[in-house]
Amino acid sequence: MTPTHESEKPRIGVFVCYCGSNIAATVDVEKVAEYAATLPNVVFTQTNKYTCSDPGQEEIRKAIIEHKLNRVVIAACSPRMHEVTWRRLLQGTGLNPYLLQVANIREHVSWVHQDRGEATQKAKELVAAAVERVPLHEPLEPRQVKIAPSTLIVGGGIAGIQAALDIANAGYHVYLVEKQPSIGGNMAKLDKTFPTLDCAMCILAPKMVDAGRHENITLFSYSEVESVEGHVGQFRVRIKRKPRYVKEDVCTGCGLCTQACVLKDRILSEFEMGMGKRGAAYIPFPQAVPLKAVIDPEHCLLLTRGKCSMKCIKACGPGAIDFKQQEEFIEIEVGTIILATGFELYDMSALPQYGYGRYDNVVDGLQFERLCNASGPTEGRIVTKDGRVPEAIAFLHCIGSRDENTNPYCSQLCCMHTLKLAHLAREKTPARIYEFYIDLRAGGKGYEEFYKRVQHEGIHFIRGKGSEVVQDGDKLIVRAEDTLLGKVVEVPVDMVVLALGMVPPKDIENIARIFNINRSRDGFFMEAHPKLRPAETNVEGVFLAGACQGPKDIPATVAHASAAAAQALSLMSRGQATIEPIIAEVIAEKCSACGECIVACPFKAIRMDEEARHAYVVSAMCKGCGTCAAACPSKAIKMAHFTDQQLIAEIEGILGRMSEYELA
């Protein structure tokens, strides 16, 4: 790149855009250009029909070279639209791309004001502001950082597994961290998947095994991420491995300890959603990966009371059980991170009227899945808690979704999920089946067809949200207003299945804090752009996969996970990333080490040099918000491209240099 003429006197070119008639209809573009020509340092002005078009850009390019322009002002549409385009244009001519200022005279002027005089005057002022500001612009150089060829994936559900396999198969290393003793997540709990009715475990288990055995995947099950430092390309991650009290490298997964455990079948199983039981020594489910036993420290008699006959130790042939195990901390460095922390079901404590947790036969969708599943607690028989085959089952849609008092959003997949459960119930029982719905949403490949199919299976659809469940003898009465009939109905059933909304996991706030990720209003992680960057976050190098970004069904989750993997891969295959140079810098001589900037920084990007007694910015972590610059009492922080001088010049350009107010 040829050097810019920063030391020279500013030679500003002002280009005013007609944008067809978009600007010209309300702003007298020629007048604005004429006015601009009278402003200091402006050596060239031009109007263009379309400044963003190829011919428009060519005009600017020619003018920059011919008139030796060293600063450019473009009065056109919003800088959010084409600033990047024009920066590239400047770069092409050898001018530093940041020596540009865009005056927004379309979105902020011509499209919102009708009076031609007023609009033209405002356009002039905005151009004047840009002309005042642009001489103070400094050339900025994008920075390069190296990307380590490895990825941390947090969460071992289908999203994490898919992303891990995509990346590992491409030849990059993956550290897969799962907080449960086994990967598999919520999908592993499902019986069948809609709309094709594939057996969930049959399609998931091979992937789990692949992930567990892959030479490029290091699996940390029963582990959590403690902290993350660093930035894109070089994240330093500290992982906490919880003690299993079973040596993973020795355990063969034979299960003899689980049989021997004194507490066998006495503890509610998490995997069975509380519908089945396990011991204190247990293997979460037969297809678990890693297939290793784990001892639950909250229940194990030895660990809680210090006294037990320790039959597990005697039962274990290879001697894998080790009650001396401690928490372990492992540090790794990775180039990219994918969060795949999934979802939880809506916490029903706020909706006691449905009797969930109070009545035995009010269950959620996942619990019902376990009842349907052949390896579940009832071996696939759908029965009530006391073992009766239900005569009637009610499915209640939208519990904890689409409700201003709980979650305003639609959890998207519960309609289909519930239809599938109704279908399974129809297959397995002679029960009358009711679906209480607000409206049914079946958008997706093959979904509407599946809905049609279920409609023809003799299921009663009642258009009305179930409002209450009460017990009456051994029946449960579901109350709802049938909005098609316009009257309240009370339907006695033996079992109620609640389609609970999907919500972010309880610890999502903590995860968000560890990774410095935003959350959207629904509480899920926020993507960088809702349409165009759905798998990226605002932290460079950190990506999102699956339901941690918002409710998703399996196909959407897998697609999202692969998208996240592709993003991470493209970054790693490039080997380096460019970081926006709009960042803060501490002017050490002015800094008095008060640390106001450090507490102000949302990204922990400012540190204190205790020796030299001044703060400094870790530039690769700085996102350029400028909060530190506002916080600094000495104004010892220079926020590149948004310096105090530049902003003041802009303000002065707008307001003109009015005389200072003298005190009366």
Partner: protein, 148 residues
């Protein structure tokens, strides 16, 4: 430089308003007002900042000092900040500055803080309309400075 302002004949008072808008939410919201062709008074001049957290009290005071009759700071809603919680600082600084203005005898309503998301073009236009009328009713800042 100076703008063509007549010293001979005082034009009727038109409030000059500086708007500090964060790039990610509020500036985009203002753009959306444009795209949606929502009309609002032309008095506001928008200065783009990356985050509302960039707006120091000094900058706001400087804008008043340079002759702004009103200053409005717009940022992302709490929780939606592109910079996680940059706007939390704004939510402390600007209200405190409003208090200070009041104590110093300057109408605090010349300074306003609101949250406008990228999807709230209409809200942006409404706020600007309201604020322009508020500042119009308060009169020129110069008048505040020279009376008394």
């Amino acid at each position: 430089m100076s703008l063509p302002e007549s010293n001979v004949q005082q034009p009727p008072y038109e409030p000059k308003i500086i708007g500090f808008l964060c790039n990610w939410c509020s500036y985009a919201g203002a753009d959306l007002a444009g795209t949606s062709r929502l009309s609002y008074p032309p008095n506001i001049r928008i200065v783009r900042v990356q985050c509302s957290g960039r707006v120091s009290p000094e900058l706001v005071l400087k804008a008043f000092h340079e002759g702004a009759d009103g200053v409005i700071v717009l940022g992302c809603h709490i929780g939606d900040c592109h910079y996680i919680d940059g706007n939390h600082r704004t939510s402390k600084r600007i209200p405190m500055l409003r208090q200070l203005l009041a104590y110093a005898g300057i109408e605090p309503d010349r300074l306003r803080l609101e949250w406008v998301s990228a999807a709230e073009g209409e809200r942006f236009a409404t706020i600007v309309k309201e604020f322009t009328e508020t500042v119009r009713a308060l009169g020129p800042i110069k008048q505040v400075m020279v009376t008394g």
